[in-house]
């Protein structure tokens, strides 16, 4: 085995370097993109804004599920529990408690995290397929529970009155800034909130992966047993991730239902809308990468936009595409591209370099 070859190179130190030229370009591109998206309401119509809101919350949900399943190995099919919970919390906090909707979104996140703790105590006792089924069952329990609340419309649901949606924080300012009427101003605020949530979720996932916890998540993803053998407390890392994801998912749910202004248990706790589509996005885009869910969301949006009118055929197509990707590019489209061309847009990697003392 090699002797200390570096001693020939004089004195110096090993250092960690992250980032590559590609990732620098990507970071710059991201900043420009976010700036353009922020300014979009100044020149885009309401249709585009509404579509973009959909893209933003699906992207945020996909990032959350990817962190959960792709990194922490928690393959949940019950994330609709937190989407619905967040939505219902928004309605309860605004209708019953009279809180401003934007503040209610933040509160919905915090309360979702509180709900996640006892939920985790139940589902974390289960492994593999049983964990997946357990999360689904818990989501059903949530749905049935919220159907009991008379004040929130019971099983048929309820609507947010214009007195609430039109009184959202900042609406007068947007009306005068963009010279639009109330409904359009409401969409603009939802749009900015959705953009902030999507960018915030991306940033959060990125920062988690860059932190020491990110190293542990990578290790857990590859081998739980080996991760534990080098000192990683797998259970704790997973619990932290589960709770963070629940908080963010709750906030996304609150935002979705602020924009929809109508909620019912069946829609809010829909496994198809809030989990199956999200899994589709992550799987075709590339599980276990940040870039994958972004690509997946764009593909899903295009399919949805052009094919959704075909009804059942559309769902069959989604399924067929997912199966094809799983067979021929098991790491998703982004996984295929990044493996083939060796590109990584986000500088998650830590590289070891030798720096000579000056």
């Amino acid at each position: 085995m090699a002797k200390h070859s570096k001693s020939l190179a004089g004195t110096g130190q090993y250092r960690i370097v992250t980032g590559t030229p590609v990732s620098l370009v990507a970071a710059g591109g991201t900043l420009i993109l976010v700036a353009v998206l922020t300014a979009l309401p100044f020149f885009a119509g309401r249709d585009l804004l509404e579509n973009m809101i959909f893209v933003f919350y699906m992207l945020a949900l996909a990032q959350c599920w990817n962190l959960l399943a792709g990194y922490a190995g928690l393959v949940s099919v019950g994330q609709q529990a937190f989407v619905g919970l967040g939505g219902y919390l928004l309605f309860a906090l605004t209708i019953i408690a009279g809180i401003d909707p934007l503040v209610a979104i933040l509160l919905a996140g915090a309360i979702s995290a509180l709900f996640a703790l006892p939920t985790a105590l139940i589902v974390f006792r289960l492994r593999g397929a049983y964990f997946a089924i357990g999360t689904w069952v818990v989501a059903e329990v949530y749905r049935l529970s919220f159907a009991q609340f008379r004040q929130l419309g019971g099983g048929t649901g309820t609507s947010l009155g214009p007195d609430i949606t039109n009184a959202v924080f900042g609406i007068d300012w947007v009306k005068s800034l963009l010279d639009v009427r109330t409904p359009a101003a409401r969409d603009v605020i939802s749009y900015w909130a959705a953009l902030a949530l999507a960018v915030g979720t991306l940033l959060l996932v990125y920062l988690i992966l860059r932190s020491r916890r990110g190293l542990a998540l990578g290790a857990i993803r590859d081998s739980e047993e080996a991760a534990a053998s080098v000192g990683v407390n797998n259970a704790r890392v997973k619990l932290v991730v589960y709770i963070i994801v629940a908080a963010v998912t709750g906030m996304i749910g609150a935002l979705i239902y602020l924009q929809k202004a109508r909620i019912s248990p069946d829609a809010a706790f829909s496994v198809l809308d809030w989990t199956a589509y999200v899994i589709f996005i992550v799987v075709i885009g590339g599980i276990g990468t940040i870039e994958g869910p972004i690509l997946g969301t764009l593909i899903f949006y295009l399919l949805q936009n052009y094919l959704a009118s075909y009804g059942p055929v559309y769902l069959i197509l989604l399924g067929a595409l997912a199966i094809l990707v799983m067979l021929f590019a098991p790491k998703g489209l982004w996984g295929y591209v990044s493996q083939r061309y060796g590109v990584e847009l986000l500088p998650i990697r830590r590289r070891l370099v030798w720096k000579k003392d000056p």
């Binding site: 070859s5 990578g218 993803r221 000192g231 407390n233």
Partner: protein, 239 residues
Amino acid sequence: MSLLEIRGLRKCFGSVVAADDITFAVEPGEALGIIGPNGAGKTTLFNLIAGGLFPDSGTIHLDGRDITTARPHERCIAGVARSYQIPRPFETLTVFENLLVAAVYGRRKSEADAAQACGEILDQVGLMRRANVLAGSLTLLERKRLEMARALATSPRLLLLDEIAGGLTESECGALVDTIKALHDSGVTIVWIEHIVHALTAAVGRLIVLNFGRKIAEGNPDAVMSSADVRHIYIGIEA
């Protein structure tokens, strides 16, 4: 006080008794070798010590502290590190990142502080050239080295090595023995499972022989290897 003390350890898988009333101790600074035919229960013993498996009965003490029911990560932080006989690298992390996780979590260091130690270990085991490639792309030989390097990155007091010399050429094997001796000289206590008896006896001061889950011999390597029981098991294995 012994660094590791094992008393009456027993583990069954159905009707297979993989560890049958095993008792021994490892002193601080010792290098202990373990041999035995395939299926003798060697790896099971490591799993019990490192916490991957819990015993049916018996106790394990590290530095006088009972760790019989401690979880694997707690044992690592307490100073136990292991390599896996069948390597389990973190395949989607780079070689360096494999060590970094171990140093950050097993040794509770910051990433920046860990870099220097990880670099030195990679240099020591001859993996520096491969530091920044994905561990999934390593050859079997390199994976075995990574197993040892990653265990070392946790700066263990007790290092458990499970058949890391298998498949090495004669000169590679000699280099490995040198590395292990150097580790031992630097104060790490080592328990090494190996089939290649001459490599083992060159590095360890004491030998334990397992067969069908039982400890059948223990003592000075030369004396153990020349005992009748052991010769009987080992006929044909090491000519």
